[in-house]
């Protein structure tokens, strides 16, 4: 029964994928969209059933299908583990997934390859489910790389544009760098404990060692790739080349959280590698700040959201670094709600403006698109940490945890939060308030999106508002639910003392401060960001993302390409010349040798005689 349920869970999206791949075109857009959505919806329903079961019994379900890869000391089977963590993850993967599928039916309706879009989305969900429910690291790795593939396919969905293809390629390759880390981590763990199974591993891991730390570090590199942390984050902003639902689903709500999922899954490993945890926290904090600063000045509506995502992911890693897994998970969930909502909202805006993404050409959309506006407003409030929206609780917990462990990191996180509030409201003001700055024609066509788009927005906005309820300070359902997973309860149960309230107040004030600045700058003063050419000074640095891409290009990509050319043009020809030089030399000797054969009998006999003398004298006289 459990096996069948698990298979149903996994295979329904895959079935949807197959149907859409093979018959999508003939089925027509609506039908293929519906099938795609239904496939995920069924998974969602199955998840609900499973959630119900696990929530009541409190025990995970293990399903083993068959042996997969045999390695001398490891036996890796294709199996699933459905426990609290995976089902929780599945809930929002399939849940938000369903909503986004629904949204996409309308959003992608004008695209000729809509069936493909849905097949890719279904495939993505399939891999994401595999990632989440895999019973060992290698099954996770199938999903891990699979979602990377889908991300590649979806970023490059509009494949005629080679820039988009570049972005897709970049995403895939940067992910692969992380994947190598993950693989190496697996190798170390595999050779240390002879297993990659979570359950077995959990019992086998007992004490920390340098090797284990190394493994943890490698695993974290993997997480960096997938969850867009320094130094591997640059693909995520570029990934906004894909259709907006993709950004919402993959690059905000689900795939990018895979790194956090993995770290949480292996919490028992990371707990033993304290120094690595510190690294995680520091990198999370820095990423959070860095991305937030870049987000301050971006003008592309999706880029702002992308950097915001990176920043928020940084915050989650900050929490992970302190061992506060449930806090991170909490933020993952709330973030999924409001960020999906924001992306879908921005998609709605873009849809309404026929593809315009530059905020400088928006404005005043509040009236034309009220539902979009309000849902996005709610989400922005949530992400800015305004009290009683979901983001307030989760972000506050992260900062709280940080404060307890490390004041500097707390400060960094807080600054990032303030900035978040600022740029989110910058986005809101520029997009929805004041006058419309686009062309007349666009203005003429402004309208609220259809119900297929607005319904998911509304649902997500509701979730973004009330999502915080699952883990209220002091009375956390989530912490309790997840407690079987973690060995030590850290960061979860804070007694709400004076410090905590003070901190909460500081956070709220910070958020409001950010909003206020944005209000003054973009509402009161009615500033509109300069056009690209006129950006100078610090903002130029920020606008150009600290030139990180350019640095990578110069330090890594260019040298590799140069090396490739060098190898191709010099080393290859050099080796060839050397190897075949033997042939050339022999040929040349042959050519010269021909001259000895002069045709003169005298010479021939001369050599004959000399040879005879040489032989005879060597044999008889040389003794």
């Amino acid at each position: 029964m459990d096996t069948n349920l698990a298979l149903l869970l996994v295979l329904t999206p895959f079935l949807g994928f197959l149907i859409n791949v093979f018959f999508g075109k003939s089925l027509g857009k609506t039908v293929s969209g519906t099938i795609g959505t239904l496939a995920v919806a069924i998974s969602f329903i199955v998840t609900l059933v499973l959630f119900n079961q696990i929530n009541s019994t409190g025990k995970g379900i293990e399903v083993t299908l068959f042996d997969w890869i045999q390695i001398s000391n490891l036996k890796i089977n294709l199996g699933f583990l459905l426990d609290q963590l995976s089902v929780l993850w599945l809930l929002f993967v399939t849940g938000i997934g369903s909503l986004i599928h629904l949204y996409s039916i309308s959003y992608m309706h004008d695209d000729e390859n809509m069936h493909k879009f849905f097949s890719y989305l279904n495939l993505f969900v399939f891999f994401m489910i595999t990632l989440v429910i895999g019973s060992n690291l290698l099954v996770l790795f199938i999903g891990w790389e699979g979602v990377g593939l889908c991300s590649y396919l979806l970023i490059g969905f509009w494949y005629k544009n080679q820039d988009y293809n570049d972005a897709a390629k970049k995403a895939f390759i940067m992910n692969r760098i992380g994947d190598l880390g993950l693989l190496i981590g697996m190798f170390i763990i595999g050779s240390m404990f002879s297993t990659l199974d979570y359950a077995t591993l959990k019992t086998a891991v007992s004490e920390g060692s340098p090797l284990l730390s190394l493994a943890a570090l490698c695993l974290f590199i993997g997480a960096c790739g997938k969850s867009a942390q320094i130094p591997l984050y640059t693909w995520l902003p570029d990934a906004m080349a894909g259709p907006t639902p993709v950004s919402a689903l993959i690059h905000a709500a689900t795939m990018v959280t895979a790194g956090i999922f993995m770290v949480t899954r292996l919490n028992f490993v990371f707990d033993l590698a304290v120094d690595v945890q510190t690294v995680i926290a520091v990198i999370g904090a820095i990423t959070s700040l860095l991305a937030a600063t870049i987000g301050l000045v971006q003008n592309d509506i999706k880029k702002v959201l992308a950097y915001s995502t990176v920043s928020q992911l940084g915050l989650m890693f900050l929490a992970l670094g302190f061992g506060a897994y449930e806090v991170a998970v909490f933020h993952v969930i709330t973030h999924a709600f409001f960020k999906a909502c924001l992306f879908l909202g921005s998609g709605s805006v873009i849809h309404g403006l026929h593809g315009e993404q530059d905020m400088r050409k928006m404005g005043g959309l509040r009236k034309a698109m009220p539902i979009t506006f309000w849902t996005m407003m709610i989400s922005s409030l949530a992400i800015s940490g305004v009290p009683f929206f979901s983001g307030f609780f989760s972000k506050d917990e992260i900062l709280l945890t940080a404060f307890h462990h490390s004041i500097p990191l707390y400060v960094v996180g807080s600054i990032a939060s303030v900035m978040t509030a600022f740029y989110m409201f910058r986005l809101m003001f520029l997009t929805f308030f004041k006058e419309f700055r686009g062309t007349e024609e666009q203005k003429h066509h402004l309208h609220e999106s259809g119900s297929l788009i607005t319904i998911p927005l509304i649902i997500l906005a509701i979730l973004a508002t009330f999502g915080g309820l699952i883990s209220l300070p002091g009375n956390s359902w989530l912490n309790e639910y997840l407690s079987p997973l973690f060995t030590k309860a850290e960061g979860g149960e804070h007694h709400l003392g004076a410090t905590e309230y003070t901190l909460m107040g500081v956070a709220v004030l910070g958020g409001l401060l950010g909003i206020l600045i944005a209000y003054i700058k973009y509402f009161k003063q009615n500033n509109v960001p300069e056009s690209d050419d006129n950006i100078i000074g610090l903002s130029k640095l920020l606008y150009d993302k600290y030139y990180i891409d350019e640095i990578y290009e110069a330090v890594i990509v260019k040298p590799i390409n140069f090396l490739s050319k060098f190898f191709r043009d010099y080393i290859e020809t050099g080796i060839a010349a050397f190897v075949f030089g033997f042939g050339k030399v022999t040929g040349e000797i042959a050519f010269q040798g021909k001259k000895i054969q002069t045709g003169s009998i005298g010479l021939y006999l001369f050599v004959f005689v000399i040879g005879l003398c040489a032989i005879v004298s060597y044999l008889f006289l040389a003794q």
């Binding site: 006999l605 050599v607 004959f608 000399i610 005879v616 040389a622 003794q623």
Partner: protein
């Protein structure tokens, strides 16, 4: 002995046919006669016997090699039909000379007395001088004949001097006597000197470096069929005789007695390496196919010389090697004769596009070249294998490595021809499918492959 008598008889019959005006029948009858001789020779196999005061000793060695010579001669006679169709009045002479040449060859491997050896080699040589120069109006043929004659007589003089010194040391020409007294302690140094002089003379005949210079010129200038004869029959006769001299006169033990064996082996190793290397390298840039095969023959001579390092064990290997080499050579020359019959040269360009116009012949030539290059399943490979096996067994690993490197070089020029046949466009019409040429080519390459598939057939004959 009977074989020798039969062969000379057959030669005289050939001359008679001319008188009786039976020109048309001469080739079939000669072939039939040679087949009869082959059968006769086969009957003698295994019976160790000596005839007429040990002038001729029939042994496994001699009969086996005689059979090989007879088979090669059959092919050569068969090829004569088309080759000499422009010289109907001379064909009996040509065939008779070839048969006598065979007699000389048989005498050389079955001699029991150095007089027979000397006369045999002279019959062979004089017949070859004549054949080389036989295209009397062709200046190249004249030149080839002259060069071969001058150098050949020079070498004969050396051989004769060698025989003389051996006689001086031994007081006898009989090889059994010489074999026995070769180990005597009071042996004058004349014996090894004489032996070395004879060996040098034979090295000239097999065209080993540095006595090889005549070979390419003579091969190139001679009429193609004569070249075929020289590079197959004459060469294997010479090698077999050299082997028989060294083993029959007990040179190795005698040298060992005088602590000269090591030096001698050094010389053989050096000559072998030099022959292989010079032959292969010089062949690389040749455009004339006969000349190329001459150099290839020089390198094969180098390979065959390796048997002198393991005289006691390698008679079978030598037989196998010579058979493989000669059969491949016959097949190759059949094709060359066909391709170049209307040309006054044998340049590689004549072979362009043979793969398209005459796929069978092209395949045969390819197979024979592959055999010479030592690619498996053709007997050339196994020949080299057995040779290397013997030589490594005797401890000459480095020599084998040089030989291996040479095999690699040799591929370079063998494949030049293959490429010309297959990847260039035909530049001429090739008409007619002369039966005898096709038959000779097919049968010889078939024999070659059969030898490759069942090496034991030949290899075990002499063990």
């Amino acid at each position: 002995m009977n074989t020798l008598i039969a062969i000379t008889g057959l030669g005289i019959f050939c001359l008679l046919f001319e008188i009786l005006n039976l020109r048309k029948a001469i080739i079939p009858i000669t072939i039939a006669g040679l087949l009869g001789v082959l059968a006769l020779n086969y009957c003698e196999f295994g019976a160790e016997q000596s005839y007429y005061n040990n002038m001729i000793t029939v042994s496994k060695f001699s009969t086996a090699f005689s059979s090989l010579f007879i088979i090669i001669t059959i092919f050569l006679v068969a090829l004569s039909h088309n080759f000499y169709h422009n010289h109907p009045t001379k064909i009996s002479d040509y065939v008779a000379i070839k048969v006598f040449l065979l007699a000389g060859g048989v005498a050389m491997v079955s001699f029991g007395n150095l007089a027979m050896f000397f006369l045999g080699i002279e019959v062979l040589s004089i017949a070859l001088y004549v054949l080389a120069a036989s295209d009397r109006l062709n200046i190249k043929s004249n030149e080839a004949g002259m060069k071969y004659f001058l150098m050949g007589s020079f070498a004969s003089g050396i051989i004769l001097f060698g025989i003389c010194l051996i006689y001086g040391a031994m007081g006898s020409f009989d090889i059994t006597e010489i074999h026995e007294s070769a180990l005597s302690a009071e042996l004058p140094i004349w014996f090894p000197i004489g032996m070395i002089l004879m060996v040098v003379g034979m090295l000239f005949k097999i065209a080993a470096v540095p006595f090889h210079f005549w070979a390419p010129d003579v091969y190139e200038g001679s009429p193609a069929l004569t070249t075929a004869l020289m590079s197959t029959l004459a060469k294997i006769v010479a090698v077999a005789t050299l082997f028989k001299l060294v083993s029959g006169l007990n040179l190795i033990s005698s040298l060992e007695n005088q602590d000269l064996l090591y030096t001698f082996q050094n010389i053989v190793v050096f000559l072998s390496i030099a022959s292989m290397t010079v032959g292969n390298i010089m062949a690389l840039r040749q455009v004339n196919v006969k000349r190329m095969l001459a150099f290839s023959g020089i390198s094969h001579a180098g390979f065959m010389l390796m048997t002198l390092l393991t005289v006691s064990a390698s008679a079978g290997v030598l037989l196998y090697y010579t058979a493989a080499y000669a059969l491949a050579g016959i097949a190759a020359f059949s094709v060359i004769l066909y391709v170049c019959r209307d040309h006054d040269n044998e340049d590689i360009t004549n072979f362009h596009g043979l793969g398209k116009t005459n796929p069978l012949l092209a395949a045969i030539l390819t197979a024979s070249l592959l055999s010479m290059a030592g690619i498996p399943i053709f007997s050339g490979f196994f020949a080299k294998l057995f040779l290397f096996d013997q030589t490594i067994k005797a401890g000459f690993v480095s020599l084998v490595i040089v030989a291996v490197i040479n095999s690699i070089i040799s591929v370079g020029y063998y494949f030049k021809l293959i490429i010309a046949m297959y990847s260039k466009e035909p530049n001429q019409e090739r008409t007619g499918k002369p039966f005898l040429i096709y038959a000779a080519a097919v049968v010889s390459i078939a024999l070659n492959i059969i030898l490759g598939l069942f090496p034991s057939l030949v290899l075990d004959l002499l063990n």
